[in-house]
């Protein structure tokens, strides 16, 4: 398999958020600022890469009938590790992301890649797939967070370029839906022309 293609598909062609529309719950809920989106994206990416690697390594050791519980235990362990590390070393981010960190366990992308890709492919392919998909997810969340933060708070990554309040609705939940919808529309248009 062409590894470059394997890696780059997560960005545009099979982007987990914009094309596959997977894991929308954290996508819509935590992207009220660019830094939150980036943090969530990187946390998910870490879990995705680790679980992909481990699962592809032990795929032959797991009997078919118990593969889903096994996957979930592995994913949940990595999520808990992320949670503990984040609570210890990035408490502000941990507080902002709140319940959505433990909820990475049920993020469809992670289990979806484990079941649909890593349990069938080699270690290297799974690692690269995890990296590509994870980066695509992090990229999408950061973009969404940046647009929402810019419109809703007049700042990007906390750097304020408008004094006072901006269009508040964008950092609230309806804004997430509106921005996500228009980003998908833009991407579709971009994909059509290229």
């Amino acid at each position: 398999m062409n590894q470059w293609k394997n890696f780059s598909k997560g960005f545009i062609k099979d982007n987990p958020v914009f094309v596959l529309l997977l894991g929308l719950c954290p996508t819509l809920a935590v992207t009220s600022s660019a830094i939150n989106g980036l943090g969530m994206g990187l946390a998910t990416m870490f879990v995705l890469v680790c679980s992909n690697m481990v699962i592809s390594l032990i795929k032959n050791l797991i009997p078919d009938k118990v593969r889903i519980p096994s996957f979930i235990v592995i994913i949940a362990s990595f999520v808990t590790i992320v949670e503990l590390i984040m609570e210890g070393f990035a408490p502000a981010l941990f507080e902002a992301l709140g319940i959505f960190i433990p909820l990475i366990v049920v993020n469809c992308i992670v289990l979806g890649r484990a079941e649909g890709f890593a349990s069938k492919q080699s270690f290297i392919s799974s690692l690269i797939d995890g990296l590509g998909m994870g980066l695509g997810f992090a990229f999408a969340l950061t973009l969404l967070g940046a647009v929402r933060e810019a419109l809703g708070n007049g700042s990007i990554f906390g750097y304020k370029f408008i004094e006072g309040d901006a269009i508040l609705v964008f950092i609230l939940s309806p804004g997430a839906f509106i921005v996500l919808g228009y980003l998908i529309a833009l991407l579709n248009r971009f994909k059509k022309t290229t």
């Binding site: 309040d165 269009i167 508040l168 609705v169 964008f170 609230l172 309806p174 919808g181 529309a185």
Partner: protein, 346 residues
Amino acid sequence: MNLLTVSGSPHIHGDNSIKKIMYGVVFAMIPAILISIYFFGLDAVKVLLISVIACMFFEWAIQKFLIKGPLTINDGSALITGILLAFNVPGNLPVWIIIIGAFVSIGIAKMSFGGLGKNPFNPALVGRVFLLISFPVQMTSWPKPNPLFARKVLDAITGPTPLGNLKEELKGGRTVQDILEHGTKMIVDGKEVLYQIPDYAQELLGNMGGSLGEISAVALIIGAIYMLCRKIITWQIPVAYLGSVIVFTGILWLINPNIYINPLFHLVTGGLMLGVFFMATDMVSTPMSSKGQLIFGLGCGVITVIIRVWGAYPEGVSFAILIMNAFAPLINKGFKPKRFGETLKI
């Protein structure tokens, strides 16, 4: 395949067209426009003009440069959206906020879905709710009405709406009677001012704080009667909407008149009349069958009262209509209009 059989002449020509209906609605809004100018003066003219021009500009620009389709700017729908948006905002709203509202109404709520006839939600209401959530401070400071021919120096430029005042004071633990009889003491710029909720006659006429178009129930009802006679709107939604509001608030009032105000107050204050006749009756975003329309009106009424009585906002008309707009396709599925020529089962 010949789907449509056209028989020989003579034909009866139905002279309804989008344009005719739209300008009928505009005509029906004239009394309310005049009242808003009477009470808010030049501010009302300014907001109306900016809103209309911005809405028509965005419609034209999006059709010309983004969709690159036929221009339908003359059908009057953008004009109506513009007037309705202006009707839904306070008269002292800054120009740039009005323009954002117009962009959201036309760009997001209407053109993103494909233009007139395809929008699931009422464009003007989407614009208003967008602004209300985004700019809560500007959208909830209401200029005091000041009649054009009896101008007086006001002790305060802005004042609360009756609904807002009532909700705030009820939350502070006062009873309805106390608020209505003794008013509310406020301190504006260091001076003590007494705010009294106006009596029902004043409220009917429109002498109260509120958005441009909602203040005068009388003017709106005159327009509504005209639209009903011209058959631009049907009676089902207004009757179901008003009826459910009266019944629901009536029940609450009978249970405890100390904390729930009477139905009449709910009818004449806030944006109820404007919503009932001009926005809940929007042809595009409401159910088609008359049974469906009755259910739509009922839902609007119940949600409006729930928000007004227990919700976070003092006024719930716009949220209620938008929520029921979302249900319109479902209602349409459940209550299909009778096919023409179908025999009645007896």
